[in-house]
Symmetry: C2
């Protein structure tokens, strides 16, 4: 599974909520490094983590994460 491009607004919503990476991490049950890597788009999180984050910010997954399928030029 690699495919399209994944992006997110975690940094935006986290700073709006005045949470540190550490506090957000604790809320969603992962480590600070996981949040940091996420904000820098270093990987494709699990669906459960995406749901946990959406839950904290009271948003839908689509409001936080965007996925653009690879351009299929054949």
């Amino acid at each position: 599974m690699k495919k399209g491009n994944l992006d997110n607004k975690v940094y935006l919503f986290r700073t709006q909520a005045r949470l540190s990476q550490e506090k957000l991490a604790k809320k969603v049950g992962v480590t600070r490094q996981t949040i940091n890597a996420l904000e820098h788009n270093r990987y494709n999180p699990s669906l459960v983590l995406a749901f946990e984050i959406a839950y904290v910010f009271d948003k839908s997954i689509e409001e936080i994460f965007s996925y653009s399928k690879e351009v299929n030029h054949e």
Copy 2:
């Protein structure tokens, strides 16, 4: 990351669309076993896979996957 309970309606939408596990698998770029395991809630897929599936069925992630946080009784 374990936490709440994850459920999905992949079987429902797949059969409505008259797709075999194999065909759906090919469309989203995973193997048939991955789709099978997903339908039987055997794991927590990546967000990208969730997006790919939502895309095929032209639905939002929330319409297909549901996540219920563990009851917090403290």
